[in-house]
Symmetry: D2
Subunit: 335 residues, 4 copies
């Protein structure tokens, strides 16, 4: 292998194009050589803008000898299949969260990567956001003493909510999963039980999956965390953490695009939130890809392990079960 990881990217949708653009221009130790999408136009447009070759077949891309690693940016239910094919071809795997739609499929993917001895990294980008990292470092340095309570806010702009059918549990599996991962990452204990409530709150929604929910986590030591998630945010992309401990509290506030402030007869006004997740988390997407490239080049464990990715997925399933059944769900219910 050279001193750079050559990537083939599968799935040229919104997040796929973010990663492709970064791989082509901003990630140390990475190069983008191929892009695949079943939609030929999408594949070609993305590949062209990134100086890469376009494919419509995953299999063809995976088979390329000049591809060292695959970036999986397709819908969750396709992940295991692609991961197994990539692993069989000896390619390392960068995979968008969640690992898979079902736990069974996730376990197959993990087993395949393990057997092939390739890296499997699931992209929990919050772990690479400089603001959240600063918060985590401060907690680990003891700035707030022992953590007691955490509160997460993660709200998506309502504009991003279509009326396309979504699989049951999608809110938890696609959105909450970030906070489910990060909460454990901050507390350093496995979650004991999960409670989730909320609803389909959008006027006239025809989709059954909740668009707004609160999830409460209990850790064995008595620490708890609440996760506030919604896909109906009128005020943009709202992403915050508050951690409260025996010596004080720390927050990572929401980011805004510009720092001016206007005061007039109607009040004191500042810009609100950003609108687009890829702007808010721009640095984290570059950093996570660089971290993955580094773990491939240096042959070290990925900075998010398959076991951690599975744990977050279990919590998402537990949250959904709690939401559906209206009861507290012990994590031990999931193997």
């Amino acid at each position: 292998m050279t001193d750079v990881v050559r990537f083939g990217l599968i799935g040229a949708g919104t997040i796929g194009r973010v990663h492709a653009d970064n791989l082509a221009r901003r990630v140390d130790g990475a190069r983008l050589v191929a892009v695949a999408d079943i939609d030929r136009k999408a594949a070609e447009a993305c590949a062209a803008s990134c100086g890469a070759e376009a494919f419509t077949s995953d299999a063809e891309l995976v088979a390329r000898p000049d591809v060292d690693a695959v970036a999986v940016c397709t819908p969750p239910e396709t992940h295991a299949g692609i991961i197994e094919a990539a692993a069989a071809a000896g390619k390392h795997i960068f995979c968008e969260k969640p690992l898979e739609r079902t736990l069974e499929a996730a376990d197959q993917a993990i087993a395949a990567a393990g057997k092939a001895k390739v890296k499997l990294f699931v992209a929990f980008n919050r772990r690479f956001d400089p603001h959240f990292l600063h918060l985590r470092d401060a907690i680990q340095a003891g700035r707030i003493g022992r953590p007691l309570l955490l509160h997460f806010v993660a709200r998506d702009p309502v504009a991003s909510l279509g009326n396309l059918p979504r699989p049951a549990g999608d809110l938890f599996l696609s959105t909450t999963i970030h906070e489910l991962d990060f909460a454990g990452y901050l507390v350093g204990e496995p979650v004991e039980s999960v409670y989730a409530t909320g609803g389909v709150m959008k006027e006239g929604a025809t989709i059954d999956d909740p668009d707004t929910a609160v999830t409460a986590l209990r850790f064995p030591s008595g620490v708890s965390a609440t996760l506030d998630n919604s896909r109906l945010s009128a005020h943009g992309y709202d992403q915050r953490i508050e951690a409260y401990g025996t010596a004080g509290m720390i927050t990572a506030g929401n980011l805004r695009g510009d720092d001016t402030r206007t005061i007039d007869a109607t009040g004191d006004h500042r810009a609100g939130a950003m609108d687009f997740f890829a702007d808010r988390y721009r640095e984290s997407y570059i950093a996570e890809m660089a971290a993955f490239a580094r773990c491939v080049l240096e042959d070290t464990p990925p900075p998010v392990t398959p076991a951690e990715a599975r744990t977050a997925q279990v919590l998402a399933h537990a949250a959904h079960r709690s939401y559906v059944e209206g009861r507290v769900v012990a994590v031990s219910e999931f193997r």
Copy 2:
């Protein structure tokens, strides 16, 4: 009756002295004429500083013909007895929260006041705080659309936490009860179910009641609320509300004593929180007493009704049951 309500105050502890001081100096339509405490020194000191007469017997105070209304500032488990005596004597009643320690006693108190046709007002002072009121008015005016999620923070300074025995459920009944009341006040629906978790988090604590807990409320419409309570705050008295709705969000932030800001080589520093609840809520204590005096003078229903006070107490009992049994508790379990 004159154009002023003449008060006898029972219980000259911390909160009793706050109310006595306000009654003596700051509440329009009120006058303090008598103070009772089983501790003669406490009664006399308080009475002297307020130009009132001191008693050691509640009964004697309640019997005074120059007392129009009684302010009950004793421990919760004594409330029903005092309320029944006061009602029997035809006195109106201002009562510190919670209404009582048990629901049975609360119901006896409500019945006694109802039978005697005297006002019974339970002092949920958050409803009279100008900042929280402004938030509520804005919500009612539609500023955030339909509310979807609420988050409350209410943390007491660790310095206020002694190691005296506290009855089981005290955190919920004495502290959380404020947010339990206010959440319903904001949402305008009865709570459907309650989930609480947390723990005795203080190092070396010898008391069984939790000092830190999260309570999640589910409302029938799918709205939810999370309440973050703790008695271990190292950074002072922390009291906040965030309400998120279909059109945006509104927050009432924590207050600090002074508004200067210092920036030096170590960062950007401001004063933290206030230390004492009576400073933070100074205006609310005056306003709630004035509102009570007004309802007596104008013979209108009290601004917090006995039924509302009972509802908050039910929720506190439900939260405690949930905490103890580790399950979601339907409010319908309580009659």
Copy 3:
């Protein structure tokens, strides 16, 4: 003399009523016994609301044996006459700023008080504002090292600006004088020279005195201060200080009436400034009066000396001369 200072207040206009209300209800060590105003209705209304006796003649009020001290709240050009009469009658004097309209009259007033050995206190209330005091204490404690630059903002709501004729130099003498006093108070050196510029910026103004100006002060050590004053503020009453020194900076920010914050699709909104100076500076008016009462009762020098009041007035005259002549004015030009 008793243990309380009995006040006669002269001038029942806006600021006079603020002081009367405080003297009647909120100032330890003070009592209001008499109110005089040439407008009988004004005198009677103010006196009635404060439980004091009404007069239309200053002389009559000053002659009262039950008056220990006089509070002078009339227009500046009447101050010297009243002070001389009060001093002759052996009354202590609390006088609104500025001391007088001209330096000659100010000197006569100072001389009269000195000869009669009565206290003469000019009410620079910023020195008693808790936020500004906290800033000053922090500076004196070395929090920012040696001060290098100061910046003051003091803007009055445009609503307070009438089109009544104002004497030349009124902006500097009535408004800027607060910052001229406070700047010297913070730096601890006499000002060396003054430069002021600005203009009559109000559209269609028929008054010659500037409504908006910047004043720059030079201190002998090289420290400088800029004062930003305006009577055209559309956003309310805006009062701030920034002090920058060798070890950092400190600011006292503007105050707002309520602490809620709304975030919606149009941005992040908070309440702007307060509208009324007597709300913004409520505590300072009580504190300065209490400090004056204390200096009378304890026979100590007033917390603002006549010499300090004269210095601030000299600076206001220097600023006006600089504004008119378009040049830097040395303070030494004024005796």
Copy 4:
């Protein structure tokens, strides 16, 4: 000419390396082909990191046929000579501010560029900062009505202050010149007069040029601006603007590196300022270079004209004269 501007950069010091790095990687429409510095090692290190050729002779670089434009990043007193040589060779010129050390030299440079019909752009990067631009756009859109008063803060970290000799007036010519330019850019009128005061405030400084100063500008309409500059900032790089107008005010606040906030028993703490100008203004350096490249490619006037650059320099000389002579200096004193 191709569709990209090929740059030769002269002067591989701090700011030169910032521009070289941007030209090599981040500026659309630009390519870096050559770097010259009289220090061979500096030239080679910079050129190597940017994939460009290294020179020790300006003349040689200027003579290169594959260089379309020259970026002048050498000390001010060398600018005119390089500009004249570049113009003679038909190269377009990007020049760091100030245009030159003396007005005579600046005029020669302008004349040379004019005669050769090459673009001459002086790099006032504040005009390309997104935060300051947002403020300017809001003002131009009428958000604050007519501007009345402006206040600028521009303080450099004390760490950046060496004890090397600096030419007289360097503070104004190297630092204040940014605000002198931007103030006029915001107000849209030529400055009428300038007053500056301040001092050599650093303990034990052996350099005569002031390290801290306030400059007050008067515009013909009565608008004024104050500029607060210092090279002694203990709290980092502090860059702010406040504009106050008839309808309100707008500020561009200082930026901080991270957005977390810690609250503990000692207060409420956030990160202070950034430390390095190239971090604070990262985006502006890229944007100004891209704007220059565009004006070359599209043959349009540079976004900062030579006349504007000269005006800012005149104001810097006027400020210095005012500082030295202790008087208000009319801009008309300079031709």
